[in-house]
């Protein structure tokens, strides 16, 4: 910028690129962090299934249950109980029915007894996952472009944020509490630097996941826009288990699955995730076992598969793994790190915390924008733009979590037999968010913070209490069988409730405004292990 040095110019870029889409980026980060636990949240939103516990005999019992439920199906898929969901989820397709990911008929079976469990209509964690990159209620392509542009601005904000710092390492060890603007600045710096590799990785990989939409010009020039040719040249695999028509179906007794499962489990440390049976109960039956999680990120964490004869259990030729080239491998590593399908529970937590730190970094940045301009506002009187930023800050930073809390409550309170129940849960989410926006516009700034954070604390803390009153399935499964998926979510809700209480206490009326006017000369530098 004219008359500005490199650091000041980047500071300008950082401030405005951050502010313009900060609220959207915050929503993308929060829903993205929660999406690392998409399956766990979906399971938690099926409270009638919480008592399910995984059992070693689950594969055989599920196969027997399928034999009873869908003997004439053309395809069974059985997703076995695992660390992210202790139920068995089955899906089957009738003869001639088109096989799609969400088509056919489905059921959820108890992980031990293989009895069908009640399923309530809910989008569960999938709603938050879709919102993360497709928002809601708009054409998918438009939404992905909006999210892609926001992600590009995030990248620019991160890079300019790094350049504007003379002493990034010293700044990391600087915290000056109770100094208003300086404290917000220090908190923002610490959060940003602490998880900088995560922020960079997750932002860049987010762009890469959308790259053929955002930057199609390479495919366009080298392949004249023929994407099919590009993807097949890059070595995409065909879907396994394609049905071959015209073959006579000869009934045949199925082989026992337990020995096959034992063999596969000896080979795969993570065990088996899914069993697919094509033409079950016939002599042409093919069993496909799919590994749970996979060691290598180079092939996008794609798991190994074993093909077996469904009648005899003899191994068939399994599809050979394709070795990706170097650049596809780089792409695969980045996208695997973003999608995190391969990860175990601990890595999942680490990334979740990274996502929460990122959300907090964006939040402190936007609060800093407001606090920095407070002295000027006090001198010059109120300003519509400033008030707008204040209100939007509260409505997004506190309001979005409140809306998610309301979404969880709708899942518990709406009648199970209700029409369009899943949509009603989402409606409650948006109603709560709109209420937060109105509230933030109508109430004084500090009160709006306090009240919304207080409401959030109550919403989150009372959810586990409500579940306990309704029959403590989650706690029972955790304490008697060590099946912690739903109980861990309850404990996480309590932890976030405590954080909301801390936030509400921190936002005492007038505190932020008082602190912001303290002379900066009195700010004492507290430096840790400065180099």
């Amino acid at each position: 910028m004219n008359g500005l040095g490199l650091r000041q110019a980047n500071s300008w870029l950082h401030t405005w690129s951050g502010l313009l889409l900060g609220w959207l980026l915050y929503a993308i980060f929060v829903t993205g962090a929660l999406s690392f636990f998409r399956d766990e949240i979906s399971f938690w939103m099926q409270p009638d299934q919480h008592a399910s516990v995984a059992h070693a005999e689950a594969p055989q019992r599920a196969m027997d249950a399928m034999q009873a439920m869908a003997p004439d199906a053309s395809l069974w898929t059985i997703t076995l109980p695992g660390p992210r969901n202790p139920t068995t989820q089955v899906r089957w397709f009738e003869q001639g029915e088109r096989r799609s990911k969400f088509g056919g008929q489905s059921a959820v079976l108890d992980g031990t007894t293989a009895q069908a469990l009640p399923v309530r209509e809910s989008r569960g964690g999938d709603f938050l996952y879709r919102f993360h990159f497709e928002l809601y209620g708009m054409p998918r392509l438009v939404a992905r472009w909006i999210v892609g542009i926001a992600t590009m601005m995030m990248l620019a904000a991160i890079i300019s944020g790094v350049i504007m710092h003379k002493k990034i390492f010293v700044d990391f060890f600087t915290f000056r509490p109770r100094k208003g603007q300086r404290s917000w600045m220090d908190a923002h710096n610490a959060l940003a630097v602490l998880a900088l590799p995560f922020h960079l990785m997750i932002t860049y990989s987010g762009l890469l996941l959308l790259m053929f939409m955002l930057m199609p010009w390479g495919v366009d020039s080298a392949y004249q826009g023929d994407r099919q040719a590009f993807f097949s040249e890059r070595g995409n695999r065909k879907a396994a288990g394609e049905h071959m028509p015209g073959i006579e179906r000869t009934p045949a007794a199925p082989t026992a699955i337990a020995p096959l499962v034992r063999q596969a489990q000896a080979r795969w440390p993570g065990g088996i995730e899914q069993i697919t049976v094509t033409d079950p109960g016939t002599s042409q039956a093919v069993i496909e076992l799919r590994e749970r999680g996979a060691g290598s990120l180079l092939d996008r964490g794609r798991s190994e598969r074993l093909l077996l004869d469904g009648a005899t259990g003899a191994p068939l030729e399994s599809p050979a793994a394709v070795k990706p080239d170097a650049f596809s491998a780089i792409y695969n590593v980045f996208s695997s790190l973003h999608l995190l399908r391969f990860a175990d529970t601990w890595l999942r937590w680490l990334f979740f915390i990274g996502g929460i730190l990122g959300s907090a970094m964006i939040a402190t940045g936007m609060i800093l924008w407001v606090v920095k301009r407070l002295p000027q506002r006090r001198k010059q009187g109120s300003h519509l733009g400033h008030r707008l930023v204040e209100s939007l800050n509260v409505a997004s930073i506190a309001g979005l979590p409140v809306a998610i809390g309301a979404y969880f409550w709708a899942n518990r309170l709406l009648p199970v037999s209700m029409q369009a129940r899943a949509d009603s849960e989402i409606l409650v989410f948006f109603l709560a968010w709109t209420a937060c926006l109105l509230h933030a516009c109508l109430r004084p700034h500090a009160s709006a913070w306090r009240e919304q954070l207080g409401a959030l604390a109550l919403l989150l803390a009372l959810l586990p209490a409500y579940d306990l009153l309704q029959g403590a399935g989650a706690m029972a499964a955790a304490l008697t069988h060590g099946s912690w998926v739903a109980a861990a979510m309850d404990l996480t809700l309590l932890a976030f409730s405590a954080m909301a209480v801390a936030g509400a206490c921190f936002m005492k009326p007038g505190k932020a405004t008082r602190a912001a006017t303290q002379p900066s000369a009195s700010a004492k530098r507290i430096e840790g292990v400065a180099p």
Partner: protein
């Protein structure tokens, strides 16, 4: 490199910011897109890999151009630098388009 701070009038400042923003957003994307298309054709590796490599890099290039658009001493210099960078990929693509 030491520069004399230039003080711009508010109107000039607005034009300055607008000019750099157009360069950052539209110019940056155009150059990144041209570089991706050009490298996809020019890199001496199999075609699919060249496309992957060029596309993977495109966002880093775009981001660098955004930072450059605001960091350069004057808006004129920012545009000149970007134009210089665009010559090679644009020339390559134009030549190819003319010959096929």
């Amino acid at each position: 490199m030491p520069r004399k701070p230039q003080k711009l009038s508010p109107a000039a400042h607005r034009w300055n910011v607008a000019s750099r923003t157009v360069l950052a957003v539209a110019g940056g994307y155009a150059i990144a897109a041209a570089a991706t298309a050009s490298l996809s054709l020019a890199l001496p590796i199999p075609r699919a890999q060249a496309v992957m490599a060029a596309t993977l890099l495109s966002f880093a290039l775009y981001c660098t151009l955004i930072v450059w658009a605001y960091s350069a001493g004057t808006a004129r210099r920012a545009w000149a630098g970007a134009a210089l960078l665009a010559v090679l990929p644009a020339g390559h693509l134009a030549l190819r388009w003319a010959t096929t």
